[in-house]
């Protein structure tokens, strides 16, 4: 069964890019453009992994993690931060990895594969 990845990013072009990479590598992809949508999609689809942008209109990425971590059934979903913001690697404490934009595609896919296996 295909693993599900939720992509949370407000930039439609970056979202499309991530969707293509993941689909091309055999993953099922769900998308969200902000924290509110991200939480809704997580509860609805229970993804196996989440990629999270930090700076988004409205609530920022760390707030998504804060709310997710309060749900015992969802709090262990691995999160990978992908952001252009300086200090992104510290933004979500329990993130399995953090990638700066523009990110290294091969490295990102390798991390996802290792995390999901």
């Amino acid at each position: 069964m295909k693993k599900k990845i939720l992509v949370i990013d407000d930039d439609i072009n970056i979202r499309d890019y991530l969707v293509s990479i993941f689909k091309d590598n055999g993953y099922k992809v769900i998308i969200a453009g902000n924290v509110k949508e991200g939480l809704s999609q997580t509860k609805k689809n229970t993804p196996d992994l989440i990629t999270l942008d930090i700076e988004m209109p409205g609530e920022w990425g760390p707030r998504f993690y804060q709310q997710l971590s309060q749900d015992p059934e969802l709090k262990n979903i691995p999160i990978i931060v992908i952001s252009g913001l300086p200090g992104h690697e510290c933004a979500v404490v329990k993130a399995v990895a953090s990638f700066p934009k523009p990110f290294d595609r091969e490295e990102l896919l390798k991390t996802i594969k290792e995390t999901l296996n």
């Binding site: 930039d11 890019y17 091309d24 700076e55 523009p102």
Partner: protein, 492 residues
Amino acid sequence: MAKQILFIDSELKYAKILKTHIERQDYNVTTAACFVQARQALEKPIWDIIIANPFIDVKIVPCLISAKETNSFMQIIILASRGKLETAMDLLGACALQYLESPISNKALDLAITSACKNIAMNQKISRYSEKIVNLHKEHDLLNQLFEEVPCYISVQDKHLRITAANKKFKYHFGNRVGGFCYEIYKHRTSQCSDCPVVKTFHDGKSYCTEEVLTTQLGKQYNVLTQTAPIRDEYGDISQVMEMSTNITQIRELQDHLISLGLMLGSMSHGVKGMLTALDGGIYQLEMGIGQKDNDRIVKAYGQIKLMAGRIKKMALEMLYYTKSRELDYKKINIKDFSQKVVNTIKTSAKNHAITLDISILENLGKFEIDSNWMDAALVSFLENAIDACVLDQDKKKHTIKFTVQKKPKERLCFTIKDNGIGMDTETKNKMFTLFFTSKGSQGTGLGLFIAHKVIGYHGGTVEIESRKGKGSTFDICLPILKPNNIKTPIN
């Protein structure tokens, strides 16, 4: 030091007796028995008292007057026979202190000399006082000049915070309002400020330094650095406090500008990273499309790369427009073609975000005179702003941007851009054309609408905005159809 007395008389015996008597009183006495001796002696400016018989030679009179003019402290006592005293008074007048009849008794001479010595002491005292008064006047003038001309606002305040004195710069910016309350004049307030440095100085006599914002009588606001100092009365009590305020508005403006510049650079750096990531995405799609021979994917990738290249170009141009000064290059342009080109620029972006474009460009609009490069960039910025407003709005299911071009009275052409996006509150509306202001986080640089607004202004145009938070915004951009005659300011 013993007083120097010159005794002028031709009767040597008489002179010798008087000299002996006077020297017993501890005075130094020199005698002169003829005009030549007297003239030589009078040339020396050493005499405190001259006792003279002017009738040994009448030429002695001008010598005495001259000696008195040279040394005003010197006292002259005239000794003459009874019949000649009147004549002596006519000759010397007030130049001499006393006119005594000769021969004179010792007692009368002693009193005359004592009186002369008192006069000398009094005159010297008056002279010292006069000198001090002159110096005081000079110092007062200097202090007054310093107070008036010092390049900061100075006011002196009493315990009720009433201004009792103010310098020239204060009066120039705040009016000649001595007697008014400090807080009324400096801040247009009705009650005293909390944490007032003047009150604190009255309380403990220390000097305090604060940063304040003052409002002049014309309503202009200045950032100032204020320092206080106590003024004490003769008993050492603080009777007044002086407040000195240095205008640091320019420094604060520069500081704000540098902070904005720093924020913008951070924001731009973040924006560029996003664009480069999206460009990577386009290249990836292109590689995959070519590899899979998937034409749709290649076309989509091409669109993506073109879009990102356009955005990077726009950002670079905005930076260029901000940093360089240029003249407008006016040309007559077909209104319909120009408007269509502007709309085409944002069509892809609107489609990507599922925003409906409702275009209304009337036929036969003719031509208008503009710098098309500048105007194109400006209108695209307004349209992109409308797209962003729709993208940010999550409440409405469908979004539409209505773009209308029509002629208005008084030879004006109006572009109306109406969206049903997120809308703006009053604060955002007021700040939207401010340099480096953006409400779009990492997606905006705060340059686009700032430059667009300037472009419209330099073309002699106006921008009117109607907006309601949650409902949407309407921008009415109206321009003169012909180049205005008084265009003078380059865009910078």
